[in-house]
Symmetry: C2
Subunit: 337 residues, 2 copies
Amino acid sequence: MRFGLFGGPYRAGSGPSGYRKGYSQFIDMVTEAESLGFSSVFVVEHHFTGLGQVSASLNLLTSLAARTSTMRLGTAVAVLPWHNPVLLAEQTATVDVLSGGRLDLGIGRGYRPVEFHGFGIDPAEAQERYEECLEVLIKSWTSSERFSHQGTYWNFRDVVVEPQPIQEPHPCIWTGAGSERSIRGAARSGFRLLLDQYGSAEQVRQRIEWYRSEVTTMGRTFDAADVALARPLLLVEPKDLDTLDAEYDRRVAAIRRLREASRIPGDDTPLTAEDHDFFNDARVATVDAAIAGTPDDCIQRLLELKNAGVETVLFNDPSGSIERLRYFSKEVMPALA
Amino acid sequence: MRFGLFGGPYRAGSGPSGYRKGYSQFIDMVTEAESLGFSSVFVVEHHFTGLGQVSASLNLLTSLAARTSTMRLGTAVAVLPWHNPVLLAEQTATVDVLSGGRLDLGIGRGYRPVEFHGFGIDPAEAQERYEECLEVLIKSWTSSERFSHQGTYWNFRDVVVEPQPIQEPHPCIWTGAGSERSIRGAARSGFRLLLDQYGSAEQVRQRIEWYRSEVTTMGRTFDAADVALARPLLLVEPKDLDTLDAEYDRRVAAIRRLREASRIPGDDTPLTAEDHDFFNDARVATVDAAIAGTPDDCIQRLLELKNAGVETVLFNDPSGSIERLRYFSKEVMPALA
């Protein structure tokens, strides 16, 4: 199995120096993680939360490219409707050039109300904007001749986009999916698959099977490396097992904070029963799915996933837990290498 | 006096690996230049030339931020009409955070026909787009409260832009100007001043005087560090003085290539007499203005500029000439430190 990281820096303290500290800690952690044997990092892109989340993901990846030498550098995900597709092509190709071909571009349509509201984009247009941006992005990466594009949202005339990415024909594209329909769609589009942090081993097995069967139907060869699964990592020393409950609570509190920060500002309607169900479900699902407990517990959970067909696990929101990554590298990773 | 670099990487060979090589050489050169005593680098932003020019300047600067520790990192210039102002604010602030507050943001309106044509933007809108982008950019950098913007080209609702830049109140803004009107305008806007590579020492003295007087009129204190002058560096060993003529020819050929690459694709009308005058003038002006010749010649030229009030000289298009920068650092820089 291979292991990666999923998330991004947060502000560490107030004011601009808090950003500096948070970004430095994250970059130091990822850099050390490479030397510990972690093989990838996927960073999020978010806007307007007020929580200090990373917004300029491709700049952060550029910095990580300069500090690391083998890790894959991913977005999870770049939200296409926010971006000018030609500028995005230039920026992603530049990251690919600067990293020696290590970019994994996760893409999405966007889902947070605060972001559609902030950018002044109608959520009803998200799918169409996503498709148009993707079309121009791929044409920009792969066309060495000038081309024009007259679309619904973008017009470009006689453009040739430079630099060209290092990876041929272009950087790998990843997308998040969970339902059978969306997973088969990802396979048909030739995208790699990001699976979420909640599904049980049995659900994961089913999802990978949908992907594998659709890839095979398309006449391509299924490669387990094309699927990555997000999981919380709650590895503790045996003497600290009683701290796990509080960790689960903290994670659910963080999920709740993010959901609240995703709402349109001023929307202070109280959380509904459905919301509370969601948070309760999230706790149960986290307890079920997390790679949690002692090294032996974690190895057991990972072996279940391996048996379900998982080759790559991305640990989400590892910020600030470099000690945990060191412990994982020493006590868990060797059993699964 | 202080010295910096101005330009960017070019493709070094065909295909994607040519970009990799060109970018690597440029980054290595800038990194060594810092250790040689150069104090800044300003990188260009261009699109659609087909010549392999740098397009994603802020990604390149992020990479330079990771490799250097004291150099100022500038754009010369970021063309505001091409960019979503909120994304630009996020990207520039992220570069400022990642570099520990070393971003110098040069901004412009755009001037190349191929770029307006490619982005599908009417040149007649350039000024208005520039002003609107700048307004949102500064508000994004400096507002810790949510704000909305309803403009001609952009709408944002209840946004708060993160991260905040490290520099307070925001990264320095630079702009290129040459005429009295535009130089006084830059001073009134509180911008720092980039002067071009052609003016004689007397013209440069006059331009700095316009800037100084307007800054003083505004009630601020003039600082010579707020002005940077671009110059070609054609330093040669005494035994190689006879190569200078060929170097001037090469530079004018490069200027001509760029002018041609700036035209709308398909516009193959022959160059006019006016164009030829421009190239002839460019050669004469380059011979007049370049920091050229033996170390003693270069010191003499730089002292003239110092007497004209210049404190910072940026050497343009130094790509691939690290030996020249080493020679400059050894034989010229000490006489002017």
